[in-house]
Subunit: 233 residues, 2 copies
DNA sequence: TCAGCCGTAGTGGTCCGACCACTCTGGTGG
DNA sequence: CCACCAGAGTGGTCGGACCACTACGGCTGA
């Protein structure tokens, strides 16, 4: 059951490509269960160890999901599954790269907020308000951060593009924001953040995309500029 | 040398987190060489097999680089290294998700092109023109696609944000575009594409960001709309 | 003296076989 | 009829062996 192995790269790398190809060609559907590690290794003519490394690699990429004692399954291949690794980028980026990342976020977040202003429903708006109020009702940085994240997540979801929402989720991942905020909040940015969030909320209520875009861009831009000054010091 | 293993998740998963943490905390610098697989496994109190899976995982994420016979090294952790996995998302996305991905690309590409219009140098512009001419001088779809990719890559580079350029690179990866173009080009879209590219080029020459943004958005939007109609059929 | 070759130690890559931890299922006993 | 449970099957871990490749240093020959 082997077809003239081209012998390019390592055995494990080949296995990764093969499985990816199987999914790309539709031979493996989302949610479907794969053969066992032992069978897969035999089919591709390699050891179980090498096959396990390939499976582990595809697991961290969000393509496969291994359930102990049950089997290996193809994920739903949705944006959330595949873009989870985006958080790693945010976690490991430093210096100028952090600013670039924030610039990307500013572009996407402003557009997402504009889209949300046009499309958001009453229910979604209520959810956004819930986090806005909760954020203003406490002084615990941890809690504020959590509601801040949820605030933007709800808006991104209301924009109607799951892929964009997933990318923004990665760009706002817990550790990334915690790292930046650690210094940012010490400069009395809480009050400003609240005003900016209020402005975004107003634009959403008014269903005003342009106002929403401007408010969101300014919001992220504030942090971006602050980070930029930090680097030059 | 172990600190009260919390025993959460699999052994391999723990190893991945530990190594990621070492890099995040700066204990491992970009380009630095890690201890051998055998030593690492011993330090974290696990078998070499498990450690290898962890290393393989971080390798596909673009965080580590293994050189056969030499050792394991931390990558430069630049945008290109870490965002290579973005291509996998594009390769495995289908249906509505493909449209969402194209929408993200439209947003980023239009902004990148606008930035490029403001910042592009004469040398960079010459490079862009080179690919524009080469694209118009041939009828080989393969070659056209290659120069098309390079055309946009040069523009993204001129925008001055490597992270954005890396993301766009992933969103335009070879297989992704080949897949979409297969059907797109059959509808006589070549001529339209050339006109759109010419419009983008004009805006760059004129250093007109708004015109560049509009031209790029229209360019990607054309493909996006076509894909949208394909899905409803 | 010095350039180039080559042996070798050390590294990642692969394979094997065993056992553990967990899940799922089908039969059994209540 | 249901609850339980034992067993088969699965992924997870381990240890060791060997292969493929790199890098370095000593050796050889000019």
């Amino acid at each position: 059951m082997d077809e003239s192995a081209p012998q390019k790269g390592t055995v494990t790398q080949r296995a990764i490509e093969r499985i990816k190809a199987m999914i790309g060609e539709g031979r493996l559907e989302p949610g479907q269960r794969l053969p066992t590690e032992r069978d897969l290794a035999a089919q591709l003519g390699m050891s179980r160890s090498s096959m396990r490394e390939a499976i582990r690699a595809l697991t961290v990429l969000g393509v496969l999901e291994a359930r102990h004692g049950s089997g290996i399954y193809v994920t739903q291949l949705e944006a959330g599954d595949l873009l989870e690794t985006f958080g790693v980028v945010a976690d490991l980026s430093r210096g100028p790269q952090l600013v670039e990342l924030l610039e990307v976020r500013r572009i996407l977040e402003s557009t997402a907020t504009a889209l949300a202003a046009a499309r958001i429903t009453a229910d979604q708006l209520a959810e956004v308000e819930k986090h806005l109020l909760a954020m203003n009702a406490t002084d615990d940085p941890e809690e504020i951060l959590a509601h801040d994240l949820a605030f933007h997540r709800e808006i991104a979801a209301a924009a109607g593009n799951e892929t964009m929402a997933a990318i923004l989720e990665g760009l706002s991942s817990r550790t990334f924001r915690a790292r930046v905020w650690r210094g940012y909040e010490e400069e009395g940015a809480f009050e400003r953040t609240r005003r900016e969030h209020a402005a975004i909320h107003r634009a959403l209520v008014a269903h005003d995309p342009e106002a929403a875009r401007a408010a969101a861009a300014a919001h992220v831009g504030e942090v971006e500029q602050w980070l930029r000054t930090q680097l030059t010091q």
